[in-house]
């Protein structure tokens, strides 16, 4: 992966496949602790303890198009290269939380990349799912919640290209405080 935002997209796609109806994305840059942490929390089907034990091993997948699952092992490798790691907690029938920590100043850390495009790609791919994005760096914070936007627009899904393009720019403008991280 060339960007951390692509990992976020990929991990959140696992949540979509797990039939989540609410997916919460968190990104926090902590300059003092020298970390960049992202989290993906969902209310999807969850994983059994057995699956959870082997899930960061590349041969674990419930896909049928191929025999290896790559998303979590790749994320694990890329965080560990920067002195960080991943934590996964999951309960069957309740949901899953994946938390990935990167060393902020590590030379092996890829850039955060286009977080705005990641979020809107998720929304357009699953217009019926609700997404929340929380971004934080020190005192600066931004929260984006598609349920609130749907309510404001009086729609049940966000699937109009013009609206999605506007929202991409809207999110981008509001997270400039983590731009080029």
């Amino acid at each position: 992966m060339r960007e951390i935002s692509l990992h976020i997209l990929d991990i959140a796609k696992n949540s979509v496949r797990a039939k989540a109806t609410l997916i919460t994305l968190g990104v926090e840059v902590d300059d003092a602790a020298d970390t960049l942490v992202f989290s993906v929390k969902d209310n999807g089907c969850g994983m059994s303890e057995e699956l959870l034990k082997t899930v960061t091993d590349p041969f674990t997948t419930t896909r049928t198009t191929r025999k290896v699952g790559l998303g979590l092992p790749l994320l694990r490798t890329n965080t560990e290269l920067t002195g960080g790691g991943i934590e996964i907690t999951s309960t069957v029938g309740v949901g899953t939380l994946v938390k990935a920590t990167f060393g902020l100043s590590s030379i092996d850390r890829m850039p955060l990349g286009d977080l705005s495009e990641t979020v809107i790609t998720l929304v357009s791919g699953s217009p019926e799912v609700d997404f929340v994005l929380n971004v934080k760096r020190g005192e600066q914070e931004f929260c984006f919640d598609t349920a609130a936007i749907k309510q404001m627009l009086g729609v049940s899904v966000l699937d109009e290209a013009e609206v999605l393009q506007y929202l991409t720019e809207y999110v981008r403008e509001n997270i400039v405080f983590i731009k080029d991280i």
Binding site: M1, R2, L6, L9, D10, K13, R17, R63, T65, R66, G69, L70, G71, L74, D114, E117, T118, T121, S124, G125, I149, M152, L153, E160, A161, E162, V163, L164, Q165, Y166, L167, T168, E169, Y170, E173
Partner: protein, 121 residues
Amino acid sequence: MKSLEELKAIRDRMQGQLASRDHVGEQDTRVVVGMATCGIAAGARPVLNRFMEEVTKRELHSVKVVQTGCIGMCRLEPIVEVYAPGQEKVTYVKVQPEMVARIVSDHLVGGNVVTEYTIKD
């Protein structure tokens, strides 16, 4: 600066036009982009977004850009499949953002498949 109030105003203005093109109809062309880990790692996200931009810019209301999971040919990602009514499926492989404008103008608008970007057996 973009604001949600402005978004609401824009959408209210669009409402009339939108009602008529809500659902994926029989006569729609579908552009399907593979968005599993293999596709995402190979660069599918910007490809998908270039398609969405081009299609909105040209107001191609009968073209729907949709995402799918793993298409099953990971080394050829990013993969884009085009399903046009009455035509066989066309599979574009190793698609890069620079290739999108041409697929849209030649194939989606002009009806001519860009064979140099398609899968070779």
